[in-house]
């Protein structure tokens, strides 16, 4: 599964946008995804890729998973998927 396509789909669903409107340099804030939407997105990503994302909603910035932009989220997922395979 193409990580980028899937992540954009998941975030688009949360933001109620078309996946094309979710750019790699978009931030969740700019897309209108709130904290509940973020947690739900993380859940959907974990389900889709069968990975566990080290994300703590209490303090997202200190989590070992960078949610600064769609690009950093995709990179983080790729890393976790690779670790799972190896």
């Amino acid at each position: 599964m193409d990580v980028e396509t899937k992540v954009r789909e998941i975030i688009a669903e949360q933001a109620m946008l078309d996946p094309q409107d979710v750019q790699m340099d978009s931030t969740l804030e700019s897309l209108g995804v709130d904290s509940l939407g973020l947690v739900e997105s993380i859940f959907a990503i974990e389900e889709a890729f069968d990975i566990t994302i080290p994300f703590n909603a209490n303090n997202p910035s200190e989590s070992d998973f960078d949610i600064t932009s769609v690009a950093t989220i995709v990179a983080g997922i790729r890393k976790l998927v690779d670790e799972k395979v190896s």
């Binding site: 739900e40 993380i42 859940f43 389900e47």
Partner: protein
């Protein structure tokens, strides 16, 4: 002390998806109890219930709402919409700041617990949806009503098993009567009709396999129902000043605790609650025309309740009418008092007393006028609504015709 009136009513239950539909079914003595329909029902010994059929939440709520609304919250929001729309109140400014939501439920999001336990235990999944907690919590329904209607006053959920709604409405009544709030949204809801919910009740061995026949000598237990009832309680002067339609007046209540047994009812506890409600309302015993009974259809409740009524009312007990509408909509547990309040409103406002259906054989231990099988026309000036919960917690409301 302010007078308190009901200016809005809403419901969804096995008899109907609105107040008019429900009252029509009660007038006609229709039974809403039928075969249960949900996953794994074949593994249950009890296969009947007052289930809400033909309800399609996907057609009413959007995807985001559905991830947050358990069935008990969905029922509550449907009923609240009907009640608040009828009241005509729009909440802003000071009215919004003081109006709250007090609702009853015994189990809260039972099917959310059930679905997710199934997922992690039976299906072996190790991850659940992030909104499981906000979806199942007992106060979810009250919170969503407050958010949807901008109600910023005192809001909470009361959980006293089968008396939850009556305790909630008693609290809301007290708040409006004291002047703490000009209006309150109150009532309750329940949705336990899922595999785990019914399986738990099966364990107690008090459930009927065929019908709910309150006060009938051949009664053999209770039948669960589901749904919600929601009301707008409002300060009489406030309602009158804006020309609102008044459905009935709430005039008193009492709450008592048996302090005796965790499941067996007590005649004294019930009698103290009934007498207490009359005293609080300042109503003479012989003015009461109708009692909506707790009337569960179990051996223990019905005879205890009749004995309590006989104790409180003396010779007038033979003149008043007492019926159990649970025979039609089933026992809505924490939501039951709310749906049953509708029968009191119908008696007071419309002069029609809902029947106890399924009544087949007189029981000398329940020798009162239980309005068997057919509704009756009668002028009723005062009505009571009884609720006697497991745990020995009792709450009785007194209402008056306006």
């Amino acid at each position: 002390m302010n007078r308190v009136v009901i200016t809005g009513a809403g419901t969804i239950n096995a008899l109907g998806k609105s107040v008019p539909e429900t009252l029509e079914a009660m007038r006609e003595g229709r039974c809403g109890i039928a075969e249960l329909e949900f996953r794994d029902v074949d593994r249950l010994a009890i296969k009947i219930g007052g289930q809400v059929k033909g309800f399609e939440p996907e057609a009413i709520f959007n995807r985001q709402q559905l991830t947050l609304y358990d069935r008990f919250t969905q029922f509550t929001l449907m009923a609240a919409q009907e009640a608040i729309t009828q009241s005509g109140l729009v909440f802003g400014g000071e009215l919004a700041a003081t109006t709250g939501v007090v609702l009853g439920t015994a189990g809260g999001g039972v099917s959310t617990w059930d679905d997710n336990y199934r997922s992690v235990y039976e299906d072996g999944k190790n991850r659940v949806h992030p909104f499981v907690v906000p979806k199942l919590m007992n106060n979810a329904a009250a919170s969503h009503v407050s958010m949807q209607y901008n109600l910023k006053g005192p809001s909470f959920t009361v959980s006293t098993a089968c008396a939850s709604s009556n305790h909630a409405m008693a609290q809301a009544f007290a708040m409006v009567r004291s002047g703490m709030a000009r209006a309150m949204v109150t009532g309750g809801s329940e949705s336990m009709l899922c595999f785990g919910g019914v399986k738990a009740w099966e364990g107690l061995r008090v459930m009927s396999r065929d019908a709910c026949r309150p006060f009938s000598a051949n009664r053999n237990g209770m039948v669960q129902g589901e749904g919600a009832g929601v009301f707008v309680f409002e300060d009489y002067e406030h309602a009158r000043a804006r020309g609102a339609e008044i459905l009935a007046e709430v005039v008193g209540y009492a709450m008592t605790s048996d302090a005796a047994d965790i499941v067996m009812p007590s005649k004294q506890g019930a009698a103290r609650a009934i007498a207490g409600a009359l005293a609080d309302a300042g109503v003479a015993r012989d003015k009461v025309g109708y009692i909506n009974a707790h009337g569960t259809g179990t051996a223990a409740n019905d005879k205890t309740e009749c004995a309590a009524v006989a104790d409180v009312f003396g010779t007038h007990a033979d003149k008043l009418m007492i019926s159990s509408t649970k025979s039609m909509h089933g026992h809505l547990i924490g939501g039951t008092g709310a749906v049953e309040l509708l029968a009191c409103i119908m008696a007071l406002r419309d002069g029609i007393v809902a029947p106890t259906i399924g009544y087949e054989e007189p029981d000398p231990e329940c020798a009162l006028d239980v309005v068997p099988n057919e509704a009756r026309d009668a002028r009723v000036d005062y009505a009571l609504s009884n609720a006697f919960a497991f745990g020995g917690l009792n709450a009785v409301l007194a209402l008056k015709r306006v």
